[in-house]
Symmetry: C2
Subunit: 209 residues, 2 copies
DNA sequence: ACCCAAGCGGACGGGGGCGTCCGTTAACGT
DNA sequence: ACGTTAACGGACGCCCCCGTCCGCTTGGGT
C-alpha cells in the first residue's frame, strides 16, 4: 500500500514533461509566444489535457521553458560586470543580449512582456542594480555618454525585439548590426548633440544610473 | 428611368464609407491592425456586411485608411531631400518618420508589413532613390558615416516599431529619444569603430547608397 | 406621390483556440 | 502476478472571428 506523498513524478510523466518543454522551447523560439497550446501538445506527442496538467497556463510554461535562457541572460550580465574595462563589459552585455533575443523570439517576447512589473522580479532588481553600476563605471571612465540612463537599455531591447526577418540567421545579422549602432550611439563623443528626454519605461528605479 | 452607371455613391453610402474609414483609422492607430473587422463596423455604427461591401478585405481598408499617412510620409521625405543641408534633411526624415510611426501603430505595422515586396510599390522605388541620394549627399558632406547603407534606415524603422508602451505620449517620447540615438549612431565620427555587416532587408536596391 | 434599385444589417454556418471532464491505460509497489 | 492509482488523451462545450446571404429600408429620380 503505497501511501508516500507523490513528490516524485512517474517516469512517463517526467518524460512527457521534458518533451513538452522541448516542444515549447522549439515553437516559442521560432514563432513567438502566440503559438496555440495544442500545437505544442501535438509536437510533444501528448494530448491537450496532459499539457494543461503539467503547465496550467502559458505563462507558467513559458517561465519554465525559458529558465535557462534567463540564466544565460544573468550570466551575460555577470560577465559584463566582471570585465575590468567597464565600457567593454557594457558593450558585451548589449551585443550578447541582443543576439540572445534575436535567436529566440519567444524569449524576447516573454522577457519584455514581464517587464511592466510582474512579481517575477526575483533577481531582476539585483541585476538592474548591477548593470546600473556597470554603466556608472563606464561613465566615470569617460566612455559612456553622461546622459545615458538605464531606460535607454530597455529602449534598445524593445527596439531589438521589433527587428523581424524570416530567417533566423538574417535576424541575428541584423540584430548584430543594430547592437553595433546602439553602442555607437551610447559612446561618449565630443561632438554629440543632446538627446531628447528619456521616457520612463521601467517604473522601479529610485536612482537611475 | 435611372440607367446611368452607378459611378456615384448614394449619399448615405458615402456617409457610411467615411464613418468606417474614421473608425478604422482610430482603431488601427490605437490598437494595431489586429482589431477585428466587426469592431470597426461596430464603432462605425454599421453592420458587418456594409463594412465588407465597401472594403472586401482588411488590406484594402488599411490601404485606404492610411492613404494620407502615406502622403505625409512622402512629404516628409520630400522635405528632407529639399533641405540645403543634407545631414539636417536626413535627421529630419528620421525624426519625423519615427514620430509618425510612434503615433500610429497600425500604420507602422501596415507600412512595414508591405515591405517584403508587395506590388504596392507605386512610388516607393522612387522615394527610396530619393533617400539614397540624400544619404549620399550627407556622406559627401562628411556628416554621415561612410558605411551607412539604406538597410540601416529600414532597420531603424523596424526597431522603432518594436517600441511599445501603453500611453501614446510615452511612446512618442520614447521614440523621439530612440531617433536621437539612431542619428547619433549614424553621424560620422573620427572615433567610431567599424560596424558589423548589414543584413539585406529590402531586396530591391541595385546600388545601395 | 410613387417606384425601384442601391444600400443596409441581422443572422447564419464554418473554423479554430481555449480549458475541462471522464473513461481508459499502464507504471510501480507489494 | 496483481491491484491500485497516477497519468493519459480523446472528446466536449464555449467563445470569438470570419465572410456571406437575404429580406427589409430608404434615397433620389420621375
Amino acid at each position: 500500500m503505497p501511501d508516500r506523498l507523490p513528490h516524485t513524478l512517474r517516469s512517463d510523466a517526467l518524460d512527457n514533461r521534458e518533451r513538452i518543454l522541448d516542444a515549447a522551447r522549439a515553437l516559442f523560439s521560432a514563432d513567438g509566444l502566440d503559438v496555440p497550446m495544442r500545437e505544442i501538445a501535438r509536437r510533444a506527442g501528448v494530448g491537450p489535457a496532459t499539457l494543461y496538467r503539467h503547465f496550467p497556463t502559458k505563462q507558467v510554461l513559458a517561465t519554465e521553458a525559458f529558465a535557462d535562457q534567463l540564466r544565460a541572460c544573468r550570466a551575460i550580465v555577470d560577465d559584463g560586470c566582471t570585465d575590468p574595462d567597464p565600457w567593454r563589459g557594457l558593450c558585451l552585455v548589449i551585443e550578447k543580449i541582443c543576439e540572445l533575443h534575436a535567436r529566440d523570439r519567444g524569449f524576447s517576447e516573454a522577457f519584455m512582456s514581464t517587464f511592466p512589473g510582474a512579481p517575477d522580479v526575483a533577481g531582476r532588481e539585483y541585476t538592474m542594480k548591477a548593470v546600473a553600476g556597470l554603466a556608472q563605471r563606464a561613465k566615470d571612465a569617460g566612455c559612456l555618454r553622461s546622459d545615458f540612463v538605464l531606460d535607454d537599455l530597455i529602449l534598445i531591447l524593445m527596439a531589438n525585439k521589433g527587428i523581424h526577418t524570416r530567417s533566423t540567421d538574417t535576424q541575428v545579422m541584423a540584430s548584430r548590426r543594430f547592437a553595433g549602432l546602439a553602442i555607437q550611439a551610447f559612446q561618449a563623443c565630443p561632438q554629440h548633440a543632446p538627446l531628447p528626454p528619456a521616457a520612463r519605461l521601467v517604473s522601479a528605479a529610485p536612482d537611475s544610473a
